[in-house]
């Protein structure tokens, strides 16, 4: 048992040496390629995104084309993912569902990330009542789980694609703001920022040229780790009927549609669910590997 664990003293000594000896250039390019988990996850994710983008060309048939004669068919060489009660091809619907789910998720992650980062950095820089206001707003977002807050907001402004994106952004910006504010705060105490200020750099220049590059790593890691969370949030909303409205397919609503047929036509729910699972899995692995690479040096410090 105990022998399995490497001696703590030698472990720290080794990592310290590794840090001092690794030149910054090597950390920048090579490890990404060598990191097989990161490459595999990235490849899977890229393939899924490409299949979503090219769904109109890849899908065997029109996702809304009904064929009642071919209703509820099990997966076969004709319909790889089977058909639903209206005889629609589940594979085609899953591909088009990917389009909708991933479009919403990527837009929302991007908007929440950029808005949260900007708010966090600016509130760290300006401090005072602006900072107080921003942190209170973050408290409000944190006062309820994102799903519940998003449900209420959707109930009020109505479910459609752009509203879902807006609502997911509104319920997810605060994590970015809090983390990046903390990072920017500690950075702004550092000598190079003080020196820049002494040299007469404008606040905007300091925020953009000195603070932003310093928090970039954290930002990118948060962004990748959030993709999986937000795909799950979007699927929960559309599963509850508060996301994209039928007949437009999205993964969550497809999984919900198949609930009544779990007994004799499991593929209606399970196929889009497995696609969703594969996507979130790849996104999570990408985020984890990315974090490991970026922080392996920093955490030891």
């Amino acid at each position: 048992m105990a022998t399995d664990l490497t001696s703590p003293l030698s472990a720290t000594a080794e990592t310290n040496v590794a840090i001092t000896l690794t030149p910054p250039v090597a950390r920048r390019s090579r490890p990404y390629v060598r990191h097989w988990r990161l490459m595999l996850a990235a490849t899977v994710l890229v393939l899924i995104v490409l299949s979503a983008i090219f769904a109109p060309w890849l899908a065997p048939v029109d996702p809304d084309a009904m064929d009642l004669a071919a209703a509820l068919q099990a997966p076969s060489h004709l319909h790889w993912f089977g058909t639903d009660p209206l005889g629609r091809d589940v594979l085609s619907r899953t591909l088009f569902g990917a389009r909708m789910s991933l479009f919403i998720a990527f837009c929302a992650v991007f908007l929440a990330g950029v808005a949260g980062a900007a708010i966090g950095i600016l509130s760290a820089y300006f401090g005072g009542w602006i900072d107080g206001m921003v942190m209170r707003a973050a408290d409000i977002q944190y006062a309820l789980p994102p799903v519940i807050l998003a449900m209420v907001l959707i109930g009020i402004i109505g479910p459609n694609t752009s509203n879902v994106i807006i609502v997911i952004t509104l319920t997810n910006w605060a994590r970015f703001a809090r983390v990046l504010r903390a990072e920017a705060l500690s950075l702004s105490q550092r000598d190079f920022v003080l020196l820049a200020r002494l040299a007469g750099a404008s606040p905007w220049r300091i925020a953009l040229r000195h603070l932003l590059p310093g928090v970039r790593d954290t930002f990118l890691v948060l962004l990748t780790l959030d993709i999986g969370l937000i795909i799950i949030l979007e699927s929960a909303l559309s599963f509850l009927g508060l996301g994209v409205q039928p007949p437009t397919p999205s993964w969550g609503s497809m999984i919900s549609d198949g609930r009544a047929y779990l007994e004799n036509a499991w593929w209606i729910s399970v196929m889009p669910g497995l696609m969703l699972m594969l996507t979130v899995l790849a996104a999570n692995q990408l985020g984890d590997a990315f974090r490991e690479l970026r922080y392996s040096a920093r955490e030891v410090e």
Binding site: D139, R259, M277, L278
Partner: protein, 306 residues
């Protein structure tokens, strides 16, 4: 410590006040209840009377003041749809949700923490690989999808457990497993990572060198210090569990808080939505305060104000 708690309570009350203002304004943005709820053939005079009766014809700040005064007395107004106090509707549904959430939390702790400990102690062995698969899978799908897979397998195929409904432990088992998996996965990973970190520190080496049995080193010396981040993480999982419970309740026809939210949103019953938001915010604040107390109890450095 006392000052710290008072500060926390003050900031929590501020959040609650802000949330109540926000939900109050938003609900009134949806539209005039006199149009949403009355039949189309109602006359303008009927609508005016309706507004008068609900106090909707007064200016907004007065309505909000009345709303706040009601909140303090525990009066959240009547449900538009059922005509009974909104708070009672919310409270009736809170019980089943709390049962589900707390059971899922307990299951996540009971599975996740021991799995994390085992995979830290036997790093590189089978148990670590099992833990990795368990946690990667658990974090890759929404709980409602696991729920459907479990219903398909355990209820439809094997016929061991009921497919849905509210009742004894047999009804509770599948929802709890589906809901708790995600949190158990995170807990297992975090426990392993923290325990490994602590096991690498010098005081553990000293304990081992002076001949403390390995079991005591891990469960006594190391786990105590690895526990703090685990408590923080477990607390953060309450939100995730309550959020996940919404879709789990929909799958299992569980008469909980989440399914009530979905119903009242679909019925435009915004007094109930309003009450639900405020009650759950309050609940959340209480959970976080309880965690703060637990934290201080676990970590003497906080208790003595260092």
């Amino acid at each position: 410590m006392l000052m710290y708690m008072l500060k926390r309570i003050a900031s929590a009350l501020l959040t609650l006040l802000a949330m109540s203002a926000l939900i109050f304004v938003m609900v009134r943005l949806v539209g005039d209840p006199a149009h949403l709820l009355m039949p189309p053939e109602a006359t303008d005079a009927d609508r005016a009377l309706f507004r008068q009766q609900l106090g909707l014809s007064d200016p907004m700040p007065i309505q909000y003041a009345r709303f706040l005064a009601g909140l303090v007395k525990g009066d959240f107004g009547n449900s538009f749809h059922f005509g009974v106090p909104a708070l009672s509707i919310v409270l009736v549904r809170l019980g089943p949700s709390l049962t589900l959430t707390l059971a899922a939390m307990a299951a996540a702790l009971l599975v996740g923490v021991p799995l994390g400990i085992a995979s830290a102690v036997w790093k590189g062995r089978l148990v670590e690989h099992v833990m990795k698969c368990f946690s990667v899978a658990g974090q890759a799908a929404p709980p409602f999808f696991f729920a459907l897979l479990m219903i398909r397998f355990f209820s439809v195929k094997l016929g061991w457990l009921p497919t849905s409904g509210y009742g004894g432990w047999r009804h509770l088992l599948l929802p709890v497993l589906a809901l708790g998996w995600y949190s158990a996965a995170g807990l297992a990973r975090l426990t392993q990572a923290n325990l490994l970190k602590v096991l690498g520190s010098e005081y553990i080496l000293v304990a081992r060198l002076k001949g403390v049995p390995e079991r005591h080193v891990v469960l006594g010396h190391a786990l105590k210090n690895a526990l703090l981040p685990i408590v923080t993480f477990a607390a953060s999982q309450f939100g995730i569990l309550i959020g996940g419970a919404v879709s789990i309740e929909a799958v299992f026809a569980w008469p909980g808080f989440g399914s009530m939210m979905v119903e009242s949103i679909n019925q435009l019953d915004f007094t109930v939505v309003q009450a639900a938001v405020i009650v759950s915010t309050l609940l959340f604040i209480l959970i976080n305060l309880a965690v703060d107390v637990l934290y201080a109890w676990l970590d003497p450095r906080i208790r003595y104000g260092h």
